[in-house]
Amino acid sequence: MNLMTLLEMAAAGMGERVAVQCSGERWTHAELFAGAGRLAARIRDTAAERVSVLDVSSPAVPLALFASAWSGRPFVPINYRLTGAEVDALIERVTPVLLVTDGERAKSLAGRSGVTLVVREDLLAEARAAAEPPAADWSMEPEEIAIWLFTSGTTGVPKAALLRHRHLVSYILGSVEYMSAAEDDAALVSVPPYHVAGMAALLSSIYSGRRMVQLPAFSPEAWLELAESERITNAFMVPTMLARVVERLEATGGAAPSTLRALAYGGGKMPLPVIERAMRLFPSTDFTNAYGLTETSSTLAVLGPADHREAAASSDPNVRRRLSSVGKALPGVELEIRDAEGKPTLPGERGEICVRGEQVSGEYLGRASRVAADGWFPTNDGGFLDEGGYLFVEGRIDDVIVRGGENLSPGEIEDVLLEHPAVSDVAVVGVPDVEWGEGVAAAVVLKEGASASASELQDWVKQHLRSSRVPQLVRFEPELPYNETGKLLRRKVREALAPS
């Protein structure tokens, strides 16, 4: 089992279709396959034990990924937005490495021991020069590691999640039909390569035969323009990206891209008002909410287009709130909510989301696997299932506020505050409290031109939830701290709100 098998099949059955394009440069599946073979031979000639890309999206990303798989080295995309010191620390962890990067960065990294530098353009030129692909001599050992993905490190030093070939191949075979895309289908990929959604988008596009159009630097203007000019049919975005596209369309009165059939989102919590506005602005687009983790090879559960429409149109509050859910588990994934004793909970009861399936890795470099002997993996995400089996995710268990022995979910309080007409964004965190151990605090961003007092928002929460959920502290902020893929940095909010 090897990711290369997916590309080999794409090259065999859809060789002349465009696999990936970026800024006018196009690669067919056959060209990608031949290029990966040539680069694999080059990698094997070096002492590199890993292949890394420290760069924005470009065709060099799929080439380097498949060449790594062919040569038997793990592929390690590195976040190019990190500071110099953070990048240095990650490079240190992947040496000896063949590192693909841009020309500027290559100059600054020259002379590092254990680092074989390849400038992006040189890699592309070398892959282009490939003639006939070499013999398919990659390893089929399913246990070999295909990708190291550094987690975002919002809570500390980034951990490297290990995804083996069997995890990723299982994920693709379980969620994508071979050659299921029409000839003129095109996916707009705006998530960066170091995000698991970027890797999943790449593999899904190749196997389904869908042309991948890369957008290296996201802006709502660029996304809308590319979607229209490239006649994009499918796209994936993190919630902040979709929120910015929605704001842009509302500000300009512009229309949604005319060819866009399907829009999937995930990678963070989607605020209800954003998805409601998006559904109005994109009336003929199918929306899918995808929930997954880096260490589960991406998507575990989806809320599909029919569920979106049913929830949005329903007057039953229990059906309507499913718009905030992540739907149901994929066919190859088992899902349970477990209480503190590890027992499955009843519908509506909160607990830890646990999953089992062939795509679940649950393994980090240098640490014991978190997967139990029976295959179950505790995600460290809290949530519950409703009566209909829809999964609601309420954030990391570590973020739960323990107030006087009562467990409070920040997500529940945030959802209520977001429904207030003056509130544009909110983060609820626990702060030290002499009386209760932990108290509830909220950092609130108001909508432009709107006003609300702290006591007004406290009353609002009191009307909707039990009094223990009412924030004892409400502080207004111009904006909340997010990382570049839209993950809220709760640690920073906690630090800002904690009494000094």
């Binding site: 098998t5 059955g13 994508v176 039909e177 899904s204 991406s298 989806v302 287009p305």
Partner: protein, 102 residues
């Protein structure tokens, strides 16, 4: 034929079919394509005739399973023969239509 291992590549001795093993039952299995034993991908074998009752063909990208699902093969190259386990033809695994999530 010897025991199967997940990830292994096999090919037909009588047509162009190639498969990758996704799941395999324990123990030795008699796996055939076109009525003739499946071979290691690297094997070099003379071509024989396809058994007329094992000639429905294989399709690239389709998964084939036995009755209890303990055996699953992914067709990576199509051919004219049919896959079978101990003489019983394998069935196409039904794919569930899923919304594109990435």
């Amino acid at each position: 034929m010897a025991a199967l291992k997940a990830g292994a590549r096999l090919k037909s001795g009588v047509c162009d079919t190639q498969v990758m093993v996704i799941a395999a039952p324990a123990g030795d299995v008699a796996l055939t394509c076109g009525g003739a034993p499946l071979l290691e991908a690297a094997a070099n074998a003379p071509r024989g005739a396809i058994h007329p009752e094992h000639k429905n063909g294989t399709q690239i990208g389709k998964r084939y399973v036995n009755a209890d699902g303990s055996l699953e093969l992914l067709c990576t190259k199509p051919g004219e023969g049919s896959l079978a386990l101990a003489g019983a033809l394998l069935k196409l695994k039904e794919a569930k239509a899923l919304p594109s999530s990435d």
